[in-house]
C-alpha cells in the first residue's frame, strides 16, 4: 500500500498536517467548519446546475423530444454554457426602480436556501451545526426566503412584477402554516427538534419510516413544499400567460441567474427535507435484511449513508420535473382554497389522530413519540 502512494504526496500531507496541528484549537475548528461549508455549498451548486439539465431532459422525454444534446457529450455541458451566457449578459436596472433593493433581492432569496443546509445531516456524522432546534431553524429560514420575491416585485416598479410578488406572498403565507403543522406531526413522532435525531427515530427499514403513519402529513408537506418553491403547478408568481414573468420580469444576466439558482436550490432543499422528515433521510430502506450483508458487493444497500439521502433527494427532484410536465397551472383562487380550506384542516385532524393513536399505542402509531 505504501508503495502505491508517491513519496512527495506523503510529504505534502505530513506538511499540511503539521501546519494544521500547530494551529490553536479554535482556528482548527474554524478551518474544519469552513471546509465542511465549502463542500456542501459546492455540492449543492453542482446539483442545481445538473438538475437544470435533467429537468430539460426529463420534460423532453415526456414530450417525446430529445432535450439539450449539443454542448459536450449527451449535452452535459449545457448547464455551464447557460451559466457563462448569463454571466456575460448585461444586468439592466430599470431607471425608476429602487436600486439597492433591486440588486439585493436575488441575494435575499438565495441566502436562506443555502443557509438552511447548516443543520441538515448528510449521514450519521456529517452535519455542519448539530443544533437542538434544527427543525425550527429550517422553518424560520424557509419562511425568510419570501422576502427576495416580494422585494424584487416591489423594487422593479412595474405592475406585472408587483402582481407576481403579491401572489407569491399570499401563497407562501398560506402554505407555510400547513407546512409548519405537518412538521408538528413529524416532531411529535420523532420526539426531537434535532434533524439527526429525527432520522435516528426512523432507522430500521421502510416500516419504521414516518411515511406510513404520517401519510397525510407527508402529502401535505410535499405539496406545500412545491407551492413554497413557486414551481409548477403553483407558479402563479411567474405566470407567463398572465403577468409575463412575474416578479423577475425586469431581471437579466447574473441577477436573473441568482433567482434561478435560488429556485433550484430551494427545490433541492425541500426534496432533501422531505426525505429526512418522512423517508428516513440517510437511513437505508433495506436495514435488517441481513442476508444482503453476506454478498460483499451488496453490503452498501443495508448501510445507511449519503448515497441513500442522495437517491431519495433525486427521486423528489424527479417528481418536481414530472409535476411540471404533467399539471396545468392552478388558478389563484384554487391555490388559496387548497392551502387554507383543505391542507390546514387535514394537518390539524391528523395531528389529533396521531396524538390519540400514539397515546393508546395503536397499530403503526404505537412506536411514535416514545
Amino acid at each position: 500500500m505504501a508503495d502505491l502512494v508517491p513519496q512527495f504526496l506523503v510529504n505534502w500531507v505530513d506538511w499540511g498536517m503539521g501546519i494544521f496541528n500547530s494551529l490553536p484549537a479554535w482556528l482548527q475548528y474554524l478551518t474544519i467548519t469552513t471546509w465542511k461549508i465549502l463542500f456542501v455549498m459546492i455540492a449543492v451548486i453542482l446539483i442545481v446546475a445538473f438538475s437544470t439539465y435533467f429537468e430539460r431532459k426529463v420534460i423532453g422525454s415526456m414530450q417525446a423530444r430529445v432535450g439539450p444534446n449539443r454542448v459536450g457529450p449527451l449535452g452535459l455541458g449545457q448547464p455551464f454554457a447557460d451559466v457563462i451566457k448569463l454571466l456575460i449578459k448585461e444586468v439592466v436596472v430599470p431607471s425608476q426602480s429602487s436600486k439597492f433593493l433591486f440588486v439585493i433581492a436575488p441575494l435575499l432569496s438565495l441566502t436562506p436556501a443555502l443557509a438552511a443546509w447548516a443543520v441538515i445531516p448528510l449521514n450519521d456524522w456529517y452535519v455542519i451545526a448539530d443544533i437542538n432546534a434544527g427543525l425550527l431553524y429550517v422553518l424560520a429560514l424557509t419562511s425568510v426566503g419570501v422576502y427576495g420575491v416580494i422585494l424584487a416585485g416591489w423594487a422593479t416598479n412595474s405592475k406585472y412584477a408587483l402582481l407576481g410578488a403579491m401572489r407569491s406572498a399570499a401563497q407562501i403565507v398560506a402554505y407555510e402554516i400547513a407546512m409548519g403543522f405537518a412538521l408538528v406531526g413529524v416532531l411529535m413522532a420523532g420526539g426531537s427538534l434535532n434533524l439527526g435525531e429525527i432520522v435516528m427515530a426512523q432507522e430500521g427499514g421502510v416500516s419504521h419510516w414516518f411515511l406510513i403513519p404520517l401519510l397525510p402529513l407527508f402529502v401535505v408537506y410535499w405539496v406545500s413544499g412545491v407551492a413554497e418553491t413557486n414551481r409548477a403547478p403553483f407558479d402563479v408568481a411567474e405566470g407567463e400567460s398572465e403577468i409575463v414573468a412575474g416578479f423577475h420580469v425586469e431581471y437579466s444576466g447574473v441577477a436573473f441567474a441568482v433567482f434561478f439558482l435560488a429556485e433550484y436550490a430551494n427545490m433541492v432543499l425541500i426534496s432533501t427535507l422531505t426525505a429526512i422528515f418522512f423517508l428516513g433521510g440517510w437511513a437505508s430502506p433495506f436495514e435488517g435484511w441481513t442476508f444482503l450483508n453476506d454478498i460483499p458487493w451488496l453490503a452498501w444497500l443495508t448501510a445507511g449513508g449519503l448515497h441513500w439521502l442522495f437517491t431519495k433527494m433525486c427521486m423528489f427532484m424527479y417528481t418536481f420535473f414530472w409535476f411540471r410536465a404533467t399539471f396545468p397551472r392552478y388558478r389563484y383562487d384554487q391555490i388559496m382554497r387548497l392551502g387554507w380550506k383543505i391542507f390546514i384542516p387535514v394537518t390539524i385532524i391528523w395531528i389529533g389522530v396521531e396524538g390519540v393513536m400514539a397515546w393508546f399505542q395503536v397499530g403503526p402509531w404505537s412506536g411514535l413519540g416514545a
Binding site: 429602487s98 437542538n132 432546534a133 416580494i150
Partner: protein, 200 residues
C-alpha cells in the same frame, strides 16, 4: 472577548437599523429596516444562549408578521410629506419615551453595579442543555392554564377580526366545488340519435 465584540457589532447594527426605521423616507425601506432590527435582536438572543426565542422571533416576526406588513405597505400609497410632518409633530412624545427608557436602563445598570439585583450575569448553561425542551417542560406543566388561555384569546382575536371585516356582497358568483366534482357525464352530455341528412 469574542463574545463582547460580537455583542457590540450586533447591538450597533440593531440601533442603526432601528434609526433607519424612523428616518427612512420610504415606508418599504422602513419595513426592511425593521426586519433587520429583528434579525439583530435574534442574534443578541443567540449570544445569550436563548436559541429558541431567537429562532421563534425570526420565524414569527420576520417570516410571517413582517411579510404581512410589507404586503400592506406596498399596496398603500403613503403620502411621504404628511408622514414627515407627523415625525416633527410627534417628536416630543418620542423623545419623552426614549428618555424614560434610557433613565430606566441606567437605573437598572446602576442597581446591578450596587449588587442589589444579586445576580452576576448569566451563568453558563450546562452541557447538553436544551433551551426548547426546558421551555416546553415548564410551559405545558406549570403554566398550562396560562398557555391555553392565551391560545383561546388569540383564537378569539382571529375570529373577531374576520367577522368584523368580512362582508357578504349579494350576487357574487362562486363555484360549488363539490357539485363540480360530483358531476357525471350524463348530467352534461346528451347523445342524440339522428338520421344522416339527405343530400341536396
Amino acid at each position: 472577548m469574542l463574545h463582547s465584540i460580537l455583542f457590540y457589532v450586533f447591538a450597533v447594527a440593531m440601533l442603526g437599523a432601528a434609526m433607519g426605521v424612523v428616518f427612512s423616507r420610504n415606508p418599504v425601506h422602513s419595513v426592511m429596516f425593521l426586519v433587520l432590527t429583528f434579525f439583530q435582536s435574534a442574534l443578541l438572543w443567540i449570544l445569550a444562549e436563548a436559541e429558541f426565542l431567537a429562532i421563534v422571533l425570526v420565524l414569527v416576526y420576520v417570516g410571517a408578521v413582517m411579510v404581512l406588513f410589507l404586503f400592506v405597505v406596498m399596496m398603500l400609497d403613503v403620502n411621504i410629506e404628511a408622514a414627515k410632518r407627523g415625525l416633527t409633530r410627534y417628536s416630543f412624545l418620542g423623545i419623552g419615551i426614549a428618555l424614560v427608557m434610557a433613565i430606566e436602563l441606567v437605573q437598572l445598570i446602576w442597581l446591578r453595579s450596587q449588587g442589589a439585583a444579586g445576580t452576576g450575569g448569566f451563568a453558563p448553561t450546562p452541557e447538553g442543555y436544551s433551551n426548547t425542551e426546558a421551555l416546553g417542560a415548564v410551559l405545558y406543566t406549570e403554566h398550562a392554564y396560562a398557555f391555553e388561555i392565551a391560545a383561546v384569546i388569540l383564537l378569539l382575536a382571529i375570529v373577531a377580526a374576520i367577522t368584523l371585516t368580512m362582508r357578504k356582497r349579494p350576487g357574487i358568483k362562486v363555484q360549488n366545488i363539490a357539485a363540480q366534482v360530483a358531476v357525471r357525464a350524463k348530467d352534461r352530455l346528451r347523445v342524440v340519435k339522428m338520421d344522416a341528412e339527405k343530400k341536396q
